[in-house]
Protein backbone atom coordinates (compact mmCIF):
# COMPACT_ATOMS: atom_id res chain seq x y z
CA UNK A 1 0.00 0.00 0.00
CA UNK A 2 1.75 3.10 -1.28
CA UNK A 3 -0.58 5.44 0.61
CA UNK A 4 0.09 3.69 3.88
CA UNK A 5 3.86 3.72 3.55
CA UNK A 6 4.04 7.42 2.56
CA UNK A 7 1.82 8.19 5.54
CA UNK A 8 4.09 6.23 7.87
CA UNK A 9 7.18 7.85 6.40
CA UNK A 10 5.68 11.27 6.90
CA UNK A 11 4.91 10.47 10.54
CA UNK A 12 8.48 9.31 11.15
CA UNK A 13 9.87 12.42 9.46
CA UNK A 14 7.62 14.64 11.53
CA UNK A 15 8.72 12.93 14.71
CA UNK A 16 12.42 13.30 13.86
CA UNK A 17 12.04 17.01 13.15
CA UNK A 18 10.03 17.59 16.32
CA UNK A 19 12.52 15.68 18.48
CA UNK A 20 15.44 17.54 16.91
CA UNK A 21 13.90 20.94 17.58
CA UNK A 22 12.85 19.89 21.05
CA UNK A 23 16.30 18.80 22.23
CA UNK A 24 18.17 21.56 20.42
CA UNK A 25 15.91 24.57 20.99
CA UNK A 26 12.77 24.16 23.07
CA UNK A 27 14.10 22.17 26.01
CA UNK A 28 17.25 24.30 26.64
CA UNK A 29 15.29 27.56 26.35
CA UNK A 30 12.64 26.18 28.67
CA UNK A 31 15.32 25.27 31.21
CA UNK A 32 16.66 28.83 31.15
CA UNK A 33 13.17 30.03 32.00
CA UNK A 34 12.73 27.42 34.72
CA UNK A 35 16.04 28.28 36.33
CA UNK A 36 15.22 31.98 36.16
CA UNK A 37 12.07 31.32 38.20
CA UNK A 38 13.64 28.65 40.42
CA UNK A 39 13.17 30.80 43.55
CA UNK A 40 9.90 32.35 42.46
CA UNK A 41 10.13 35.96 41.22
CA UNK A 42 13.13 36.62 43.45
CA UNK A 43 15.80 36.38 40.74
CA UNK A 44 13.90 38.64 38.38
CA UNK A 45 13.20 41.09 41.18
CA UNK A 46 16.89 41.16 42.13
CA UNK A 47 18.16 42.03 38.69
CA UNK A 48 15.42 44.56 37.97
CA UNK A 49 16.25 46.47 41.16
CA UNK A 50 20.00 46.35 40.52
CA UNK A 51 20.81 49.73 38.90
CA UNK A 52 23.85 48.26 37.10
CA UNK A 53 21.71 45.57 35.48
CA UNK A 54 18.90 47.93 34.49
CA UNK A 55 21.52 50.26 33.01
CA UNK A 56 22.92 47.35 31.02
CA UNK A 57 19.46 46.37 29.79
CA UNK A 58 18.69 49.94 28.77
CA UNK A 59 22.05 50.25 27.01
CA UNK A 60 21.40 47.00 25.13
CA UNK A 61 18.01 48.22 23.92
CA UNK A 62 19.35 51.66 22.90
CA UNK A 63 22.30 50.14 21.03
CA UNK A 64 20.08 47.55 19.33
CA UNK A 65 17.54 50.16 18.20
CA UNK A 66 20.22 52.48 16.80
CA UNK A 67 21.98 49.58 15.06
CA UNK A 68 18.70 48.32 13.56
CA UNK A 69 17.82 51.82 12.31
CA UNK A 70 21.20 52.20 10.65
CA UNK A 71 21.11 48.69 9.19
CA UNK A 72 17.57 49.14 7.87
CA UNK A 73 18.28 52.41 6.08
CA UNK A 74 21.56 51.24 4.59
CA UNK A 75 20.26 47.71 4.03
CA UNK A 76 17.30 48.84 1.94
CA UNK A 77 19.52 51.32 0.05
CA UNK A 78 22.20 48.75 -0.70
CA UNK A 79 19.57 46.17 -1.69
CA UNK A 80 18.05 48.53 -4.25
CA UNK A 81 21.51 49.34 -5.56
CA UNK A 82 22.38 45.64 -5.89
CA UNK A 83 19.15 44.64 -7.61
CA UNK A 84 18.26 47.65 -9.75
CA UNK A 85 21.64 48.95 -10.89
CA UNK A 86 24.70 47.59 -12.59
CA UNK A 87 28.08 48.89 -11.60
CA UNK A 88 31.65 47.63 -11.65
CA UNK A 89 32.56 45.68 -8.52
CA UNK A 90 28.99 44.57 -7.86
CA UNK A 91 29.97 40.94 -7.36
CA UNK A 92 32.78 41.89 -5.01
CA UNK A 93 30.41 44.06 -2.97
CA UNK A 94 27.92 41.21 -2.85
CA UNK A 95 30.55 38.84 -1.50
CA UNK A 96 31.81 41.42 0.97
CA UNK A 97 28.31 41.82 2.40
CA UNK A 98 28.32 38.22 3.59
CA UNK A 99 31.57 38.72 5.48
CA UNK A 100 29.97 39.80 8.77
CA UNK A 101 28.06 36.50 8.85
CA UNK A 102 31.07 34.35 8.16
CA UNK A 103 33.68 36.12 10.28
CA UNK A 104 33.70 35.41 14.00
CA UNK A 105 32.35 38.40 15.98
CA UNK A 106 35.45 38.42 18.14
CA UNK A 107 37.55 39.05 15.01
CA UNK A 108 35.19 41.90 14.17
CA UNK A 109 35.80 43.37 17.61
CA UNK A 110 39.57 43.15 17.26
CA UNK A 111 39.45 44.64 13.77
CA UNK A 112 37.43 47.60 15.01
CA UNK A 113 39.93 48.18 17.82
CA UNK A 114 42.75 48.19 15.23
CA UNK A 115 41.02 50.94 13.24
CA UNK A 116 39.35 53.05 15.90
CA UNK A 117 41.45 52.22 18.99
CA UNK A 118 42.20 55.35 21.00
CA UNK A 119 45.96 54.80 21.28
CA UNK A 120 47.17 52.70 18.35
CA UNK A 121 44.25 52.65 15.95
CA UNK A 122 44.30 53.98 12.41
CA UNK A 123 42.33 57.13 13.00
CA UNK A 124 41.24 56.42 16.55
CA UNK A 125 43.74 58.90 18.00
CA UNK A 126 42.63 61.60 15.57
CA UNK A 127 38.98 61.08 16.53
CA UNK A 128 39.85 61.00 20.20
CA UNK A 129 41.72 64.28 20.06
CA UNK A 130 38.59 65.69 18.42
CA UNK A 131 36.69 64.56 21.52
CA UNK A 132 35.03 61.47 20.05
CA UNK A 133 35.85 58.20 21.80
CA UNK A 134 34.80 55.12 19.86
CA UNK A 135 36.44 52.10 21.49
CA UNK A 136 35.46 51.42 25.11
CA UNK A 137 32.45 53.68 24.59
CA UNK A 138 28.90 53.47 23.26
CA UNK A 139 29.77 54.40 19.61
CA UNK A 140 32.08 51.38 19.49
CA UNK A 141 29.34 49.08 20.76
CA UNK A 142 26.93 50.45 18.13
CA UNK A 143 29.59 50.04 15.44
CA UNK A 144 30.26 46.41 16.40
CA UNK A 145 26.54 45.62 16.53
CA UNK A 146 25.90 47.26 13.14
CA UNK A 147 28.76 45.25 11.67
CA UNK A 148 27.58 41.82 12.84
CA UNK A 149 23.93 42.41 11.83
CA UNK A 150 24.76 44.18 8.54
CA UNK A 151 23.66 41.54 5.99
CA UNK A 152 20.39 40.50 7.64
CA UNK A 153 18.12 43.19 6.17
CA UNK A 154 19.88 42.96 2.79
CA UNK A 155 19.52 39.19 2.56
CA UNK A 156 15.79 39.45 3.29
CA UNK A 157 15.09 42.38 0.97
CA UNK A 158 17.16 41.42 -2.10
CA UNK A 159 15.13 38.31 -3.06
CA UNK A 160 11.86 40.20 -2.60
CA UNK A 161 13.07 43.06 -4.80
CA UNK A 162 14.15 40.58 -7.45
CA UNK A 163 10.81 38.81 -7.37
CA UNK A 164 8.77 42.02 -7.55
CA UNK A 165 10.71 43.22 -10.61
CA UNK A 166 10.95 46.82 -11.77
CA UNK A 167 7.88 47.11 -14.00
CA UNK A 168 5.71 48.58 -11.25
CA UNK A 169 8.40 51.18 -10.61
CA UNK A 170 8.62 52.01 -14.31
CA UNK A 171 4.84 52.32 -14.46
CA UNK A 172 4.93 54.72 -11.50
CA UNK A 173 7.64 56.80 -13.20
CA UNK A 174 5.66 56.99 -16.44
CA UNK A 175 2.64 58.17 -14.40
CA UNK A 176 4.65 61.11 -13.13
CA UNK A 177 6.13 59.89 -9.85
CA UNK A 178 9.70 60.98 -9.06
CA UNK A 179 12.25 58.65 -7.46
CA UNK A 180 11.20 59.42 -3.87
CA UNK A 181 7.47 59.07 -4.60
CA UNK A 182 8.09 55.81 -6.47
CA UNK A 183 10.07 54.44 -3.55
CA UNK A 184 7.53 55.47 -0.91
CA UNK A 185 4.35 54.53 -2.77
CA UNK A 186 5.42 51.49 -4.81
CA UNK A 187 8.76 49.95 -3.83
CA UNK A 188 8.44 50.15 -0.05
CA UNK A 189 4.92 48.63 0.14
CA UNK A 190 6.03 45.86 -2.20
CA UNK A 191 9.04 44.90 -0.07
CA UNK A 192 7.58 45.70 3.34
CA UNK A 193 7.49 42.11 4.60
CA UNK A 194 11.07 41.55 3.61
CA UNK A 195 12.04 44.72 5.49
CA UNK A 196 10.03 43.74 8.57
CA UNK A 197 11.65 40.30 8.67
CA UNK A 198 15.06 41.81 8.22
CA UNK A 199 14.37 44.29 11.04
CA UNK A 200 13.20 41.55 13.41
CA UNK A 201 16.18 39.34 12.64
CA UNK A 202 18.54 42.29 13.04
CA UNK A 203 16.90 43.28 16.31
CA UNK A 204 17.23 39.77 17.72
CA UNK A 205 20.83 39.54 16.52
CA UNK A 206 21.70 43.01 17.89
CA UNK A 207 20.20 42.33 21.33
CA UNK A 208 22.14 39.10 21.62
CA UNK A 209 25.54 40.18 20.28
CA UNK A 210 28.33 39.22 22.65
CA UNK A 211 31.76 38.58 21.16
CA UNK A 212 32.37 41.78 19.22
CA UNK A 213 30.79 43.91 21.95
CA UNK A 214 32.92 42.26 24.59
CA UNK A 215 36.11 43.33 22.80
CA UNK A 216 35.16 46.92 21.96
CA UNK A 217 33.08 47.86 25.02
CA UNK A 218 35.71 47.48 27.72
CA UNK A 219 32.91 46.09 29.91
CA UNK A 220 32.82 49.05 32.27
CA UNK A 221 30.24 48.45 34.99
CA UNK A 222 27.31 50.85 34.76
CA UNK A 223 28.71 52.44 31.58
CA UNK A 224 29.48 50.10 28.71
CA UNK A 225 28.32 46.77 30.06
CA UNK A 226 25.48 45.34 27.98
CA UNK A 227 22.94 42.66 28.93
CA UNK A 228 24.86 39.76 27.39
CA UNK A 229 27.98 40.86 29.28
CA UNK A 230 25.93 40.94 32.48
CA UNK A 231 24.88 37.34 31.88
CA UNK A 232 28.51 36.26 31.52
CA UNK A 233 29.67 38.30 34.51
CA UNK A 234 26.97 36.93 36.81
CA UNK A 235 27.48 33.39 35.57
CA UNK A 236 31.24 33.53 36.22
CA UNK A 237 30.62 35.06 39.66
CA UNK A 238 28.39 32.15 40.69
CA UNK A 239 25.26 34.35 40.65
CA UNK A 240 23.49 31.75 38.52
CA UNK A 241 20.03 33.02 39.44
CA UNK A 242 20.85 36.51 38.17
CA UNK A 243 22.46 35.08 35.01
CA UNK A 244 19.41 32.97 34.20
CA UNK A 245 17.00 35.80 34.91
CA UNK A 246 18.87 38.18 32.58
CA UNK A 247 19.16 35.45 29.95
CA UNK A 248 15.45 34.83 30.26
CA UNK A 249 14.70 38.49 29.55
CA UNK A 250 16.88 38.38 26.42
CA UNK A 251 15.16 35.22 25.22
CA UNK A 252 11.75 36.71 25.98
CA UNK A 253 12.37 39.69 23.69
CA UNK A 254 13.50 37.38 20.88
CA UNK A 255 10.42 35.17 21.22
CA UNK A 256 8.19 38.24 21.39
CA UNK A 257 9.70 39.51 18.10
CA UNK A 258 8.89 36.26 16.33
CA UNK A 259 5.33 36.16 17.71
CA UNK A 260 4.63 39.79 16.80
CA UNK A 261 5.74 39.21 13.21
CA UNK A 262 3.69 36.06 12.68
CA UNK A 263 0.65 37.82 14.17
CA UNK A 264 1.12 40.92 12.00
CA UNK A 265 1.61 39.07 8.77
CA UNK A 266 -1.57 39.01 6.64
CA UNK A 267 -2.89 35.66 5.49
CA UNK A 268 -2.39 36.25 1.76
CA UNK A 269 1.38 36.61 2.16
CA UNK A 270 1.80 33.43 4.15
Amino acid sequence: MADHSTFARRQVLRFVVAAYLFFLVAWPVYLVGRNAFAGGLGNLDDILTDPDVTHALRLTVVVAVIAVLINTVFGVGISIMLVRYDFPGKRALNALLDMPLSVSPIVVGLALVLVYGGRHGWFGPALESAGLQIIFAVPGIVLATVFVALPLVIREVVPVLEEVGDEQEQAARSLGADAVQTFRRITLPAIRWGVIYGVVLSLARSLGEFGAVKVVSGNVLGETRTATLVVEEKYLNFDKGGAYATAFLLALVAVACVIVVSALRPKEDR
Partner: protein
Protein backbone atom coordinates in the same frame (compact mmCIF):
# COMPACT_ATOMS: atom_id res chain seq x y z
CA UNK B 1 3.62 65.22 -36.34
CA UNK B 2 3.22 64.09 -32.77
CA UNK B 3 6.36 62.01 -32.19
CA UNK B 4 9.53 62.71 -34.15
CA UNK B 5 12.30 60.17 -33.82
CA UNK B 6 15.48 61.26 -35.57
CA UNK B 7 18.58 59.10 -36.07
CA UNK B 8 18.05 57.13 -32.88
CA UNK B 9 20.62 54.41 -32.11
CA UNK B 10 20.81 52.06 -29.15
CA UNK B 11 23.22 49.26 -28.26
CA UNK B 12 23.17 46.72 -25.46
CA UNK B 13 26.80 45.66 -25.26
CA UNK B 14 27.64 44.29 -28.71
CA UNK B 15 24.02 43.90 -29.73
CA UNK B 16 22.65 46.69 -31.92
CA UNK B 17 19.01 47.11 -30.90
CA UNK B 18 18.35 50.22 -33.00
CA UNK B 19 20.50 51.36 -35.90
CA UNK B 20 19.97 55.00 -36.88
CA UNK B 21 16.16 54.90 -36.82
CA UNK B 22 14.06 57.85 -37.94
CA UNK B 23 10.27 57.72 -37.72
CA UNK B 24 7.48 60.30 -37.61
CA UNK B 25 4.35 59.20 -35.80
CA UNK B 26 1.24 61.23 -36.64
CA UNK B 27 -1.04 62.88 -34.04
CA UNK B 28 -4.30 61.27 -33.02
CA UNK B 29 -3.67 58.04 -34.90
CA UNK B 30 -3.20 54.46 -33.86
CA UNK B 31 0.25 53.35 -34.98
CA UNK B 32 1.67 49.84 -34.76
CA UNK B 33 5.37 49.05 -34.43
CA UNK B 34 5.46 45.66 -36.08
CA UNK B 35 8.34 43.24 -36.33
CA UNK B 36 9.84 39.97 -35.16
CA UNK B 37 11.02 39.47 -31.56
CA UNK B 38 14.36 41.09 -30.85
CA UNK B 39 13.97 43.45 -33.80
CA UNK B 40 14.12 46.58 -31.66
CA UNK B 41 10.48 47.68 -31.63
CA UNK B 42 10.05 47.46 -27.84
CA UNK B 43 13.33 49.30 -27.35
CA UNK B 44 12.07 52.10 -29.58
CA UNK B 45 8.83 52.32 -27.58
CA UNK B 46 10.75 52.40 -24.29
CA UNK B 47 13.00 55.16 -25.66
CA UNK B 48 9.89 57.21 -26.53
CA UNK B 49 8.65 56.66 -22.95
CA UNK B 50 12.03 57.54 -21.42
CA UNK B 51 12.36 54.12 -19.78
CA UNK B 52 15.43 53.60 -21.94
CA UNK B 53 17.99 56.20 -22.98
CA UNK B 54 19.00 56.41 -26.64
CA UNK B 55 22.76 56.35 -27.33
CA UNK B 56 22.37 58.72 -30.26
CA UNK B 57 19.62 60.76 -31.90
CA UNK B 58 16.69 62.79 -30.61
CA UNK B 59 13.07 62.25 -29.64
CA UNK B 60 10.52 65.07 -29.87
CA UNK B 61 7.01 64.67 -28.46
CA UNK B 62 4.48 67.28 -29.64
CA UNK B 63 7.32 69.61 -30.55
CA UNK B 64 9.09 69.31 -27.20
CA UNK B 65 12.59 67.85 -27.18
CA UNK B 66 12.21 64.88 -24.83
CA UNK B 67 15.57 63.23 -25.50
CA UNK B 68 16.97 64.00 -22.04
CA UNK B 69 13.72 64.12 -20.08
CA UNK B 70 13.07 61.49 -17.37
CA UNK B 71 9.89 59.42 -17.88
CA UNK B 72 7.87 61.34 -15.29
CA UNK B 73 8.34 64.61 -17.21
CA UNK B 74 7.19 63.26 -20.58
CA UNK B 75 3.48 62.90 -19.89
CA UNK B 76 3.19 59.59 -21.68
CA UNK B 77 0.94 56.72 -20.71
CA UNK B 78 2.67 53.35 -20.78
CA UNK B 79 0.96 49.96 -20.76
CA UNK B 80 3.14 46.91 -20.11
CA UNK B 81 2.75 43.40 -21.49
CA UNK B 82 2.49 41.98 -17.97
CA UNK B 83 0.22 44.80 -16.73
CA UNK B 84 2.60 46.13 -14.02
CA UNK B 85 -0.40 46.49 -11.72
CA UNK B 86 0.33 48.04 -8.32
CA UNK B 87 -0.43 44.89 -6.37
CA UNK B 88 -0.99 46.49 -2.98
CA UNK B 89 -3.49 49.07 -4.28
CA UNK B 90 -7.14 48.56 -5.25
CA UNK B 91 -8.27 49.02 -8.83
CA UNK B 92 -9.53 52.50 -7.92
CA UNK B 93 -6.22 53.54 -6.32
CA UNK B 94 -4.30 52.08 -9.25
CA UNK B 95 -6.22 54.26 -11.70
CA UNK B 96 -5.99 57.26 -9.36
CA UNK B 97 -2.20 56.96 -8.95
CA UNK B 98 -1.15 59.48 -11.57
CA UNK B 99 -3.77 61.98 -10.40
CA UNK B 100 -2.74 61.61 -6.75
CA UNK B 101 0.87 62.24 -7.75
CA UNK B 102 -0.32 65.40 -9.53
CA UNK B 103 -2.10 66.44 -6.31
CA UNK B 104 -5.49 66.96 -7.94
CA UNK B 105 -8.43 67.73 -5.63
CA UNK B 106 -9.99 64.65 -4.10
CA UNK B 107 -13.46 64.95 -5.66
CA UNK B 108 -11.98 65.62 -9.09
CA UNK B 109 -9.91 62.44 -8.77
CA UNK B 110 -13.01 60.51 -7.78
CA UNK B 111 -15.05 61.79 -10.70
CA UNK B 112 -12.30 61.14 -13.21
CA UNK B 113 -11.59 57.63 -11.91
CA UNK B 114 -15.30 56.77 -12.04
CA UNK B 115 -15.42 57.94 -15.67
CA UNK B 116 -12.38 55.87 -16.59
CA UNK B 117 -13.61 52.76 -14.81
CA UNK B 118 -16.86 53.08 -16.76
CA UNK B 119 -14.87 53.49 -19.98
CA UNK B 120 -13.00 50.22 -19.39
CA UNK B 121 -16.08 48.45 -17.92
CA UNK B 122 -14.57 47.87 -14.48
CA UNK B 123 -17.04 49.90 -12.34
CA UNK B 124 -18.04 46.94 -10.21
CA UNK B 125 -14.40 45.94 -9.60
CA UNK B 126 -13.27 49.31 -8.20
CA UNK B 127 -12.53 48.01 -4.70
CA UNK B 128 -10.84 44.77 -5.69
CA UNK B 129 -7.12 44.13 -5.66
CA UNK B 130 -5.42 43.37 -9.01
CA UNK B 131 -4.84 39.77 -7.88
CA UNK B 132 -8.62 39.30 -7.92
CA UNK B 133 -8.94 40.27 -11.61
CA UNK B 134 -8.46 38.24 -14.78
CA UNK B 135 -5.63 39.07 -17.19
CA UNK B 136 -7.93 40.95 -19.55
CA UNK B 137 -9.41 42.98 -16.69
CA UNK B 138 -5.96 43.80 -15.34
CA UNK B 139 -4.88 45.06 -18.74
CA UNK B 140 -8.00 47.24 -19.01
CA UNK B 141 -7.20 48.61 -15.56
CA UNK B 142 -3.64 49.36 -16.69
CA UNK B 143 -5.06 51.17 -19.71
CA UNK B 144 -7.40 53.27 -17.55
CA UNK B 145 -4.47 54.07 -15.26
CA UNK B 146 -2.39 55.25 -18.22
CA UNK B 147 -5.26 57.31 -19.63
CA UNK B 148 -6.01 58.96 -16.25
CA UNK B 149 -3.15 61.45 -16.57
CA UNK B 150 -4.42 62.55 -20.01
CA UNK B 151 -1.15 61.60 -21.68
CA UNK B 152 0.10 63.29 -24.83
CA UNK B 153 0.80 59.84 -26.22
CA UNK B 154 -0.30 56.39 -25.15
CA UNK B 155 2.32 53.67 -25.54
CA UNK B 156 1.46 49.97 -25.35
CA UNK B 157 4.16 47.29 -25.27
CA UNK B 158 2.72 44.01 -26.60
CA UNK B 159 -0.44 44.83 -24.63
CA UNK B 160 -2.26 41.61 -25.47
CA UNK B 161 0.75 39.31 -25.60
CA UNK B 162 0.10 37.63 -22.25
CA UNK B 163 -3.59 36.97 -22.88
CA UNK B 164 -5.24 33.94 -24.40
CA UNK B 165 -6.43 34.05 -28.02
CA UNK B 166 -10.09 34.82 -27.39
CA UNK B 167 -9.53 37.64 -24.88
CA UNK B 168 -6.81 39.00 -27.12
CA UNK B 169 -9.24 39.27 -30.02
CA UNK B 170 -11.88 40.96 -27.84
CA UNK B 171 -9.42 43.47 -26.41
CA UNK B 172 -8.09 44.21 -29.88
CA UNK B 173 -11.55 45.22 -31.12
CA UNK B 174 -12.11 47.08 -27.92
CA UNK B 175 -8.83 49.04 -28.22
CA UNK B 176 -9.81 50.09 -31.74
CA UNK B 177 -13.22 51.32 -30.56
CA UNK B 178 -11.68 53.01 -27.52
CA UNK B 179 -9.23 54.84 -29.74
CA UNK B 180 -12.09 56.01 -31.96
CA UNK B 181 -13.67 57.51 -28.80
CA UNK B 182 -10.60 58.96 -27.08
CA UNK B 183 -8.39 59.95 -30.06
CA UNK B 184 -5.16 60.04 -28.07
CA UNK B 185 -2.04 59.45 -30.17
CA UNK B 186 -1.37 55.76 -29.61
CA UNK B 187 1.62 53.59 -30.44
CA UNK B 188 1.56 49.89 -29.81
CA UNK B 189 4.16 47.21 -30.27
CA UNK B 190 3.23 43.82 -31.68
CA UNK B 191 4.82 40.90 -33.46
CA UNK B 192 1.42 39.73 -34.72
CA UNK B 193 0.89 41.02 -38.26
CA UNK B 194 -2.83 40.25 -38.14
CA UNK B 195 -3.19 42.40 -35.02
CA UNK B 196 -1.35 45.27 -36.69
CA UNK B 197 -3.32 45.00 -39.96
CA UNK B 198 -6.62 44.88 -38.12
CA UNK B 199 -6.16 47.60 -35.50
CA UNK B 200 -3.64 50.14 -36.76
CA UNK B 201 -4.09 53.23 -38.94
CA UNK B 202 -0.39 53.20 -39.67
CA UNK B 203 2.24 50.48 -39.42
CA UNK B 204 5.98 50.85 -38.93
CA UNK B 205 7.75 47.59 -39.80
CA UNK B 206 10.95 47.21 -37.78
CA UNK B 207 13.50 44.46 -38.23
CA UNK B 208 17.12 44.08 -37.12
CA UNK B 209 17.07 47.52 -35.55
CA UNK B 210 16.03 49.24 -38.79
CA UNK B 211 12.77 50.55 -40.22
CA UNK B 212 11.81 48.43 -43.23
CA UNK B 213 8.70 50.32 -44.27
CA UNK B 214 6.12 52.80 -42.98
CA UNK B 215 2.58 53.01 -44.31
CA UNK B 216 -1.08 52.18 -43.94
CA UNK B 217 -2.04 48.51 -43.64
CA UNK B 218 -3.24 48.56 -47.28
CA UNK B 219 -0.02 50.13 -48.56
CA UNK B 220 2.10 47.62 -46.72
CA UNK B 221 0.11 44.63 -47.85
CA UNK B 222 -0.35 45.73 -51.44
CA UNK B 223 2.95 47.51 -52.02
CA UNK B 224 5.59 45.93 -49.79
CA UNK B 225 8.89 47.78 -50.08
CA UNK B 226 11.03 44.66 -49.92
CA UNK B 227 11.12 40.94 -49.49
CA UNK B 228 11.10 41.13 -45.69
CA UNK B 229 7.88 43.14 -45.52
CA UNK B 230 6.31 40.92 -48.17
CA UNK B 231 7.13 37.80 -46.17
CA UNK B 232 6.28 39.24 -42.75
CA UNK B 233 2.83 40.59 -43.56
CA UNK B 234 1.29 37.56 -45.17
CA UNK B 235 1.74 34.19 -46.86
CA UNK B 236 4.11 34.06 -49.85
CA UNK B 237 5.13 31.59 -52.48
CA UNK B 238 7.75 31.70 -55.25
CA UNK B 239 7.00 31.86 -58.92
CA UNK B 240 10.21 32.04 -60.91
CA UNK B 241 12.35 34.58 -59.05
CA UNK B 242 9.30 36.50 -57.83
CA UNK B 243 7.69 36.33 -54.40
CA UNK B 244 3.92 36.49 -54.70
CA UNK B 245 0.92 35.92 -52.47
CA UNK B 246 -0.64 32.47 -53.03
CA UNK B 247 -4.12 34.00 -53.21
CA UNK B 248 -3.02 36.36 -56.02
CA UNK B 249 -2.32 33.41 -58.32
CA UNK B 250 -4.94 32.15 -60.72
CA UNK B 251 -5.17 28.68 -62.22
CA UNK B 252 -6.57 27.82 -65.60
CA UNK B 253 -6.81 24.72 -67.74
CA UNK B 254 -7.80 26.41 -71.00
CA UNK B 255 -5.62 29.58 -71.04
CA UNK B 256 -2.83 29.80 -73.54
CA UNK B 257 -0.53 32.01 -71.45
CA UNK B 258 0.92 31.49 -67.97
CA UNK B 259 3.44 29.12 -66.48
CA UNK B 260 2.81 25.48 -67.21
CA UNK B 261 2.84 23.03 -64.34
CA UNK B 262 1.40 19.86 -62.93
CA UNK B 263 -0.85 19.58 -59.85
CA UNK B 264 1.12 17.66 -57.23
CA UNK B 265 -0.91 18.18 -54.06
CA UNK B 266 -4.31 19.47 -52.97
CA UNK B 267 -5.05 20.39 -49.33
CA UNK B 268 -8.44 21.56 -48.20
CA UNK B 269 -8.54 23.74 -45.03
CA UNK B 270 -12.09 24.91 -44.32
CA UNK B 271 -13.13 27.54 -46.86
CA UNK B 272 -9.70 27.56 -48.45
CA UNK B 273 -8.04 25.06 -50.76
CA UNK B 274 -4.29 24.96 -51.27
CA UNK B 275 -3.09 23.62 -54.56
CA UNK B 276 0.56 22.84 -55.05
CA UNK B 277 1.66 23.04 -58.64
CA UNK B 278 5.11 21.92 -59.74
CA UNK B 279 6.25 23.90 -62.75
CA UNK B 280 8.02 22.43 -65.76
CA UNK B 281 11.25 23.76 -64.20
CA UNK B 282 10.60 21.67 -61.07
CA UNK B 283 9.61 24.58 -58.83
CA UNK B 284 6.76 23.93 -56.37
CA UNK B 285 4.26 26.86 -56.31
CA UNK B 286 1.46 27.16 -53.79
CA UNK B 287 -1.86 28.60 -54.96
CA UNK B 288 -4.77 29.22 -52.60
CA UNK B 289 -8.29 29.19 -53.97
CA UNK B 290 -11.67 29.55 -52.35
CA UNK B 291 -13.73 26.39 -52.23
CA UNK B 292 -16.01 27.68 -55.00
CA UNK B 293 -13.15 28.60 -57.32
CA UNK B 294 -11.60 25.20 -56.76
CA UNK B 295 -14.80 23.34 -57.56
CA UNK B 296 -15.47 25.45 -60.68
CA UNK B 297 -12.02 24.58 -62.08
CA UNK B 298 -12.49 20.85 -61.56
CA UNK B 299 -8.79 20.32 -60.85
CA UNK B 300 -7.48 16.77 -60.89
CA UNK B 301 -4.29 15.63 -59.20
CA UNK B 302 -1.40 15.20 -61.66
CA UNK B 303 -3.22 17.09 -64.42
CA UNK B 304 -1.54 19.86 -66.46
CA UNK B 305 -2.45 23.42 -65.54
CA UNK B 306 -1.35 27.03 -66.09
CA UNK B 307 -0.53 29.56 -63.36
CA UNK B 308 -1.08 33.26 -63.90
CA UNK B 309 -0.57 36.22 -61.55
CA UNK B 310 -3.70 38.33 -61.11
CA UNK B 311 -3.11 41.80 -62.64
CA UNK B 312 -1.97 44.48 -60.18
CA UNK B 313 -0.80 42.00 -57.53
CA UNK B 314 2.23 42.84 -55.37
CA UNK B 315 5.44 40.99 -56.08
CA UNK B 316 8.99 41.32 -54.89
CA UNK B 317 12.10 39.87 -56.40
CA UNK B 318 13.56 37.32 -54.06
CA UNK B 319 17.23 36.77 -53.49
CA UNK B 320 16.82 33.88 -51.08
CA UNK B 321 17.42 30.40 -52.38
CA UNK B 322 15.63 28.52 -49.62
CA UNK B 323 11.94 27.75 -50.02
CA UNK B 324 9.51 30.21 -48.52
CA UNK B 325 9.19 29.62 -44.80
CA UNK B 326 5.52 30.52 -44.75
CA UNK B 327 4.42 27.83 -47.16
CA UNK B 328 7.04 25.18 -46.48
CA UNK B 329 5.98 24.92 -42.86
CA UNK B 330 2.33 24.62 -43.75
CA UNK B 331 2.66 22.15 -46.60
CA UNK B 332 4.96 19.20 -46.13
CA UNK B 333 7.28 18.44 -49.00
CA UNK B 334 7.17 14.98 -50.53
Amino acid sequence: MSIEIVNVGKRFGDFVALDDVSVSIPSGRLTALLGPSGGGKSTLLRIIAGLERADTGTVRIEGVDATGLPPQKRNVGFVFQHYAAFKHLTVRRNVAFGLEIRKRPRDEIRRRVDELLALVHLEQFADRLPAQLSGGQRQRMALARALAVEPTVLLLDEPFGALDAKVRKELRDWLRRLHDEVHVTTVFVTHDQEEALEVADEIVVINDGRVEQIGSPDELYDRPANEFVMRFLGPVTRLGDQLVRPHDLQLSISDADGVVGRVTRVTRIGFETRVEVTTAGGQPVTVTLTRNEFQALNIQLDSEIRIRLAPGSPTTTTTATQPCAETSTLIPTH
